[in-house]
Symmetry: C2
Subunit: 433 residues, 2 copies
């Protein structure tokens, strides 16, 4: 039995008006017991440890709803290229060289960066997902994992089997810290038949689906040519949208597409920075929210973005919508919602994303005693428009400290950085040779 009391400013994300400037949060084992003003913890609560951080802000850990964690190994390996040469000449040849161990260390590097930038949960799509799961178990974060499935590729069938195995082996692992989804890559890389097979198996095993949808204009053109439909209409017709589905990107949507996503309760993982940097376009997030679609934020892989920093992603998501629509849309608190509450809903996690009694103790503290956080007029505006990754001081997941005073407690950062550097450079050398 562990009992922790944190005294700090508290932004629980349970409503736009909820803020405790002199607050506290009581944690028992993996869950939050009480949140409120100083002195509101139950009278019988005697903490083993009290953290007095009066100039820190406690908020829910950030949730990254779309990434390819191990692609940190490709960070800044190739940039500023047109999409197809970038993929064909750089990304894919590099990925072909990745061993399972490389994927472990690339994911470990991603998790170090995520913890240090206040991200406590990710939705990942990649290969060798056992390695990813083991890295997550080691790091102590929360994750939803999906084995990426290129149905049209030579390994479509074996990948599907691996996806099924992943559910059996890791769904609920780490005392529930890991969940699993199926990860059919996209409607243009999986046939209709394949998608329906995946969907049937997902339903049978009771897990969700994580898929790229309508990311680029090229994808729209391919689907129109192949099926005479938009990606969203095609997936709907296939019956993919019955259960829990996370559609990543959703940049190019018609009005009908948006209505389908809303009606079918599809959650959207929005990746503003990837969409900008790769010239994919501006997702209609303002309209989707108006239609009631649940939105989470994602960084995409570090190969496209080139970091895993959700603070930057919050700011970019706001800026992109304000540029596209007008300066009033996506006010700061709504952006924070997407990165926390919305992220949890997107991932189908019912007890994270807010600081409330009974919720999991997944939280971060931000050092607000720095020049860029003065004057303190609006905490939400500070978090979205001002804060950066380096401002995170403390990270807790499942009631366990993963970082204190910016020092990682579960990972040997030097070892992880060294392994990642050596492995990435080895592959780059092989490709030169």
């Amino acid at each position: 039995m562990s009992k922790v009391l944190i005294r700090a400013m508290v932004l629980p994300m349970t409503g736009a008006d909820m803020f405790y400037p002199q607050g506290e949060i009581a944690i028992e084992n993996d869950r939050i017991l009480a949140v409120g003003e100083r002195g509101s913890a139950p009278s019988g609560f005697v903490p083993d440890r009290t953290l007095d951080l009066p100039n820190d802000l406690v908020m829910p850990g950030l949730i990254n709803t779309h990434t390819h964690a191990a692609m940190t190994l490709l960070r800044s390996y190739a940039d500023d290229l047109p999409l197809m040469p970038w993929l064909k000449e750089k990304v894919w040849p590099f990925e072909d060289k990745l061993t399972e161990e490389d994927i472990y260390w690339g994911t470990a590097l991603a998790l170090c960066e995520m913890i240090r930038s206040g991200t406590t949960t990710m939705l990942d799509m990649y290969v060798a997902m056992d390695q990813v799961a083991e890295a997550v178990l080691k790091a102590g974060t929360r994750a939803v994992l999906s084995r990426g499935l290129i149905g049209n590729g030579p390994n479509g069938e074996s990948a599907f089997q691996e996806g099924c195995d992943l559910v059996r082996r890791y769904h609920g692992a780490g005392k529930g810290r890991i969940n699993v989804m199926f990860g059919p890559h996209a409607p243009y890389t999986c046939s209709g038949e394949y998608l329906q097979k995946v969907k049937a198996e997902a339903d049978r095993l009771g897990v969700g689906i994580h898929i790229h949808v309508a990311e680029t204009q090229d994808e729209i053109n391919i689907l129109r040519e192949q099926y005479g439909k938009t990606p969203v209409q095609w997936l709907d017709e296939l019956g993919l949208f019955g259960g829990h589905v996370v559609a990543a990107h959703c940049v190019h949507l018609t009005q009908e597409d948006m209505e389908i996503l809303a009606r079918r309760h599809v959650c959207v993982a929005h990746n503003a920075e990837s969409n900008m940097k790769l010239n994919s376009g501006t997702a209609p997030i303002t309209e989707l929210r108006a239609k009631g679609v649940v939105i989470g934020l994602g960084t995409d892989g570090a190969s496209s973005n080139n970091n895993l920093d959700l603070f930057g992603e919050m700011r970019s998501a706001a800026f992109q919508q304000k540029l596209q629509v007008d300066s009033t849309v996506l006010p700061a608190y709504e952006v924070l919602e997407m990165a926390t509450v919305g992220g949890a809903q997107t991932l189908g996690l019912e007890d994270v994303g807010m600081l409330a009694p009974g919720f999991k103790a997944d939280l971060i503290t931000i050092d607000m005693d720095q020049p860029h956080f003065y004057p303190r007029f609006s905490i939400p505006a500070h978090l979205v428009y001002v804060a950066h990754a380096g401002d995170v001081r403390t990270v807790m997941v499942d009631g366990k400290f993963l970082m204190e005073e910016r020092k990682l407690l579960t990972m040997d950062v030097s070892e992880v950085c060294k392994e990642a550097e050596t492995r990435a450079k080895r592959i780059a050398e092989e490709l030169k040779g």
Copy 2:
């Protein structure tokens, strides 16, 4: 006589291929003596102090080419509003309450934030510029200062006199750390006659001009109605573009405007984040660069943006152009150039913006031994797409350390934060009452 040797990775910004992975830089008093591989300092050079930072990167200090520093006091005071209500109901009433002392402390807060985020030089436009100058002298940074002139306002004439006084009192102050320009606010807030008077005086005193140009579509409409011309054409016709001119924003430009700016050697201060957040639009930076226009980056005031972080600004500038044009434009090194070399040219400073013998010792070091900077494939891509303000470890201006190990050496940060908080809250209270 002070002699400092810094051993680190060196990105001198003297050319895209110039990088010393195991470099060193020798500094004598306020200037750089030598830059190169380890061991390249002149044999007679015996440093008083040696900094061994093998995992840090040394680069030129960043240059903020457009800001209103004291507006840090309005940070997060009002956001997510339409432009005119934001200005009329929030910003202007707040600014009306600012005392000269408030402006000192607001600027001091800005300078603390700038130093901590690696900015060594700013071009500022505001009022009570003596206060701004004194804050700069105290902080130890470099600055070009301009007294904002609303020619059409009730204080047009007295502001002009203050602008003239500022030149006499502070141009060249702080052993050359401070320069002065005239700051006529914009072509829609100053008459043609007023602008010509300012220009004549600027020429007589041998200083440049800093002016907002073509920031919003509204401005374009006003000028078209009033003069039947674009802002750029109108200013050119008035003869404003003879000497050194910094045109801030330049979002809405015709082809002819761009050609005028290029032909007249007008420098452009690009404020990507302000332009996005306020829905001003996307400046045609890619086209301007192609025409040979010198571009610097600016944050605008913390009231619009809401920080003074040029690392964020570099990333946003790249993302915005890539979104608007294509993924290949503004590659990372070019963005770095805008924030350093281009910034120096924009401000008319001939001996900053690069690390080269004879240049001023204005430099920063970045802690690259962090997970988000691995693997180390491309330093420029890391700096533009990955780095954040908190990664800056050391700041030197004019050969003097302003920050070491993230600790400010010239300013009492607690005092500055407390003064800023108290003064900003006092004004907000007055406005409520």
